[in-house]
Symmetry: C2
Subunit: 453 residues, 2 copies
């Protein structure tokens, strides 16, 4: 028996999380399946941002550093993120961009490996030596651990940062396919840098198993949680991960270009300095001393003055996700959201298979729940870009990602369980059916190919 | 004949820039002399920020990358900054924090010096070799130019970043007093890193002369314009400076933690990569290629996704300064503002000398216009902190900076000519007189020293 619109409505009617959707302003006529690019606007955000602008900036002016506790923002918001990624209070800061944070943590991880191989230190668990700053003098080292391993299909900006840092710090970036992970993990690997949920395929790594495998060969792990935080349960401490960073404007709904976050395992946090040693990461930032002394713990991962207004937007976004905690006393917000997320992506896959058979679509995202993020990607030999454009013209917003030698072009659909409903899934697939069956996408394809430029 | 309140009112009445003040929301009962810490709120900002939040984020969602031209923001705003610092369109980007930007440009300058000393390259004007990325492999170099020279009294975060980069890149940070500059410039100096206007004293360097002296020994210059942009005329290209960065939330009125800016001399801009090689600085950012290829020119100084809402605030701030262009057809905004700025600081100095004689205050800021920023600092052996607190309690907002071995504690007053008037100067000094003559500050001092903690 095939799935019907009535079935989808029944799922919405039974959905215990349905009211969470009321936290958002969703544009009229839009079915938004792109929360993995930019989350939607929380209803609370305009008023809160206006308050920060008019009151904290306009009236409080410089006094708001004290009266509005601006200095606490990165750590106070970090504590909220911690509840979503299996971390503890005091372990996360919200700051800078994802790329900048990746630079900091990858630098720290590489410095840690160099320090552990320095003469006279043979134990993998030894603390860093010397001035406690953990930045070895450049060059001269005949390090055994010379590789940073990552996936060829990792998000490009992660690879760009790693490429630059490897060249700078004397490491080699080795790119592999996920299937080669087991064989790639050798005792030459200094750092395994992975994105937990792949941006293009939606495939999810088993963080605990992969981290254990990395640790077994003495490698440290750096996890990018851009498509995980707010999307799937993450258990950083339970996985004994080493470093992690993530994005504030996707599933965390923090607004365009919202500050990102960084997490460091407590066992590393107080030991290594990252090189972006600005005033906000100083142990005594208001003493204006001429020499840098890193703050204890993750506080040293802060650098310059943070965008206060943008942080206010991020906090509104974080609160929309944390509201799901009310629906699951023991498992936290993400356990409740995960159940719905899987139901949404299962439904989408089932409807596409029932209604788009023979239309040339292939399922890219794993069927196995344990390997799936909160998105579904379809590939097609022809017209993927044009189909996405035709859907957007109809108000169904997903996005397109180019294929490569291993895979045709991709149609990507993100399902944020906070605001996407089951009936939305039905209508999205209905539009997809119509775009494919009417050949309406061919007009978009014609226009693209024949555009007068 | 001493200066009177009526004299000050007359100066306001004659002030051609008086209407520029109407661009701002100034809190009731506040005399704000701290625009060098955080500029005041432009009246246009709340509505513009609300529009970005509700329309661009809320309604446009991911489509706003195209429809609202988010991708152009850092360079479009950079072009506005360029008009204030003697730079050309396309030479400036607004992005990240001042500290992060300093890391980028100082790294680039140090890499440039290393590349120029690499084997086979003896001419100081040679372009970088190899892959054009300018990041030499670490270590092994017996560089003649091993020093980064800066002022001991430079803003601490600048010194922290330099300290970290020097250790990382194999250079030595040498801190001097401004008076030692001439002798410190030797052919061992790779980079001279200075803040144009000192944050604590208000003393201003002669950028052109200092740059020429640095170039004469083969050093590159990195200028921090945090207390210059929007405060004093800056002529980067005319001075043939090499690299510069600056702050968006002080005299540019961009809001708390507003994005900062970076400028690179066109002759260097296309040659060197900075290590924060994120997607936004890629030559083809939307192609998602796995390898980094830096954008031409200053675009490569962008890294990750920028805070769109914060950039909207910064643009409103920039527009308040650029509004002064209407008052000086040939000299630009800063020429008009400089005339008023000097009149304000001259008046403040004169009133303090006329009315606070014998109160133990010393003038820290240079009397010479050519050496003065847009602030006036006074020092006092006793009670500086308490006096500033007593003034703030009266609504006169300046700030306190601790002294050192060379100078007692400091009372710092910033004069943003856009919104500070001559009568404001009168009343500020009147409050200072009362705080000193009544000894009212001693109560604050008593409370500070005897606080129950």
């Amino acid at each position: 028996m095939t799935t019907t619109l009535a079935d989808c409505r029944a799922l919405d009617a039974q959905d215990p999380l349905r009211t969470l959707r009321d936290q958002f302003t969703l544009p009229e006529g839009v079915l938004y399946l792109d929360g993995n690019s930019l989350g939607v606007l929380p209803k609370a955000a305009p008023a809160r941002i206006a308050e920060v602008v008019a009151k904290e900036w306009g009236e409080g002016l410089i006094r708001s550093w004290n009266t509005a506790s601006w200095f606490d923002l990165p750590q106070r918001l970090g504590d909220k993120v911690a509840r979503l990624i299996g971390a503890a209070p005091g372990e996360v800061v919200c700051t800078d961009s994802t790329s900048v944070n990746l630079y900091k943590v990858l630098f720290a991880a590489l410095s840690q490996q160099k320090a552990e191989e320095a003469p006279g230190r043979s134990q993998a668990s030894s603390p860093p030596s010397g001035d406690g700053l953990g930045v070895p003098s450049p060059g001269g080292s005949q390090s055994r651990r010379k590789l940073v391993v990552s996936e060829r299909s990792n998000f490009p900006t992660d690879l760009y940062i790693a490429e630059s840092l490897c060249r700078e710090r004397g490491f080699t970036l080795k790119l592999i396919d996920a299937s080669e992970l087991a064989t790639a993990l050798t005792d030459e690997v200094a750092v395994l840098m992975l994105t937990h949920v792949n941006y293009r395929t939606g495939a999810m790594h088993d963080m605990k198993a992969v981290t254990a495998a990395a640790h077994a060969v003495g490698a440290l792990t750096v996890w990018d949680l851009a498509h995980s935080a707010g999307a799937v349960p993450v258990a950083l401490n339970d996985s004994d991960a080493d470093y992690a960073i993530g994005c504030g404007y996707k599933y965390l709904n923090g607004g365009p270009g919202a500050p990102a976050f960084a997490w460091v395992n407590t066992k590393h946090a107080g030991q290594f300095e990252q090189p972006l040693s600005g005033w906000w990461g100083h142990a005594a930032p208001f003493e204006f001393t001429p020499h840098y002394r890193p703050a204890p713990g993750v506080g040293r991962y802060l650098c310059g003055t943070q965008p206060v207004i943008a942080l206010a937007g991020l906090e509104c976004g974080l609160d929309t996700v944390l509201a799901a905690e009310a629906f699951n006393g023991t498992g936290g917000a993400m356990a409740a959201l995960r159940t719905k997320s899987l139901a949404l992506t299962d439904l989408f896959i089932r409807l596409v298979e029932e209604r788009c058979a023979g239309q040339g679509l292939s399922l890219v995202t794993p069927r196995d729940h344990a390997q799936r993020g909160s998105q579904v990607c379809l590939s097609r030999e022809e017209g993927a870009y044009a189909i996405v454009q035709a859907l957007i013209a109809r108000g169904v917003i997903g996005d397109y990602r180019a294929g490569d030698s291993q895979m045709p072009d991709i149609l990507r659909f993100g399902f944020t369980p906070l605001y996407v409903g089951f009936e939305d899934v039905w209508h999205s697939v209905e539009h997809l059916v119509q775009v494919l069956e009417t050949g309406e996408w061919r007009r978009a394809e014609f226009n693209r190919k024949n555009a007068v430029t």
